[in-house]
Subunit: 326 residues, 2 copies
């Protein structure tokens, strides 16, 4: 496990989460068990389980349900990645072959369904009905957001609020749920449950904005995918909004998103041109400033909890999110 | 609602379940809400919600959680049908267009995911952790069974026990879960919870065997699909096992399943020939006898509960399952 330095105080907890995730997907038959073990083992920063653990560690520590829930949250995230890869027909993620690179699409869908179910079963193991409810409702939010994106209900000509709604559904909702449910399992007072939920949500918003920035300025080798992938999927993210706001070329945006492309024009070329234009505009810095704004909110949420090592970890995690390069 | 006559004593409960299902899928945006309302409204016999309600009605009646769970179980079933139709590329179900006949495959996958999540959220509304756990574990069993079938881990040359394992995963597990969870919500004594679970499981086995028989002898117009559809999907069901046991032609089975087809031979013709051969063999009657055997077990499970109108409904439901023609 590649542990982020500020998560050192919960290293053993996160190792227990890894073990729980592995054993959860191994409780089935071959070749499903090997395939899912490989998916689970291909890594990730484990930020969501860390939020569960830290929110609980700040209060009363009850290992079994917290570890189960942390594993459930990460498996849920992994299940959404499996379905995303099926939908995008992606064959590589985190430098490893995706499941649908080797399995049929139908089998991959079912493997994702199984992982959702496995995650829900782990959440049920907490024997906490509020947590089971948070879990199911977050999955609904994520699916609704994905569908909304797919049904092209987001339009860059629409209000920028749509962008925030989309990244809330896609990312911040699960960060918020992780921190909230961890606090619930720690028997935190309701006021602190809400503060931690708010922290998770702000952190998730900042995280996704940084992701969207990295899709323009990231190192392709470190990211494991080419820049401009959102544009190629027809999705305009925050850098595009800021680019337009600073006087960018709306026709170029349309062309890159594959709409109203003039005869003979190349969309791939439009994507490259738009990426270059956005990167050399003030848009990226404006986005970073927005991400830093969300991180400041996150830090404010937990300022009253930041005494001990777990509270400090939450603060450092917030800083990390806007400084990361992959 | 087309109510089966023996379910008359719980008509109002089942109407409440319909209303709960409709409101559950309407709590989202368009066009998802209309699409799912249409899927939910296209009918079905509502056997699974009836099991939940009857098992609870036999004990203490607590309307809210029971109606939520009954709706959750039927939505879970409906979600599996959405993914099945995506996988099979089916465009018609129950005489109506399927979701994937009009939506993209990717959107259909996500709509199914949303319905799983919605179902899990309804199950969580029961505030009963045992029920949430039964629910999640059943979804796991269903997914594992589907995958096992898809990965061709079932082979008609293998033990017949594989067939029973398959129909348990696919059908009987959810019937069992419905009756068990209904009894749990009715605060039934543990012994009766287990009897009702067993009843549901036996009923589900009989139900699926009848489904597999109807795939050979059913009226195509009433069924809304041609006979032999399992064979065309490469799946050998119980009638095939019995056909072979009574001296049937193994080469014809292989050909119908699309394996080792001789040069120039038509698989479609092999399917038609095999269907005709099975129907005129003693196989169908042998299968019916097996289904009746499961139904007798089901009746035995609830014989001690069969005094009142709810117990009688369980007995009559068992008879119905082996007499139905669609």
């Amino acid at each position: 496990m590649n542990l982020l330095p500020m998560l050192e105080p919960i290293r053993e907890d996160l190792e227990a989460v890894e073990a729980r995730m592995r054993s959860a997907v191994q409780e089935t038959y071959e070749p499903l068990s090997s395939a899912l073990t490989a998916v689970v083992g291909s890594g990730g920063k484990r930020l969501r389980p860390a939020l569960v653990v830290l929110a609980a560690r700040l209060h009363r520590w009850d290992e079994r349900p917290v570890i189960s829930l942390a594993a459930a949250v990460e498996l849920l995230h992994t299940a959404t990645l499996i379905h995303d890869d099926t939908i995008d027909e992606a064959t590589i993620r985190r430098g490893s072959k995706t499941l649908n690179a080797t399995w049929s699409r139908a089998a991959t869908i079912l493997a994702g369904d199984f992982m959702f179910a496995r995650a829900a079963a782990l959440a049920a193991e907490t024997s906490n009905t509020r947590v089971a409810s948070i879990f199911a409702n977050t999955l609904m939010t994520i699916c609704q957001g994905e569908l909304r994106q797919m049904l092209s209900l987001y339009d860059w000509r629409g209000p920028r609020a749509d962008y925030y709604a989309r990244i809330y559904s896609k990312t911040a909702s699960l960060f918020a749920a992780a921190a909230e449910a961890g606090a619930v399992l720690g028997h935190a007072p309701e006021e602190r449950v809400q503060l931690l939920r708010s922290y998770g949500q702000h952190l998730g918003m900042a995280f996704q904005i940084m992701d969207d920035i990295l899709d323009f300025v990231g190192d392709e080798r470190q990211m494991g995918k080419p820049v401009g992938s959102d544009l190629r999927q027809g999705i305009a993210t925050l850098p595009v909004y800021h680019y337009l706001q600073s006087g960018g070329d709306a026709a170029l945006v349309d062309a890159a998103l594959g709409r109203g492309l003039p005869d003979g024009a190349s969309r791939a070329q439009a994507v490259n041109e738009l990426v270059a234009a956005v990167v050399s505009s003030p848009a990226i810095e404006a986005c970073r400033e927005e991400a830093r704004g969300f991180v400041r909110e996150a830090a404010r949420d937990v300022s009253s909890l930041a005494d001990g090592c777990y509270g400090r970890a939450l603060l450092e995690l917030a800083d990390f999110v806007v400084e990361r390069e992959t």
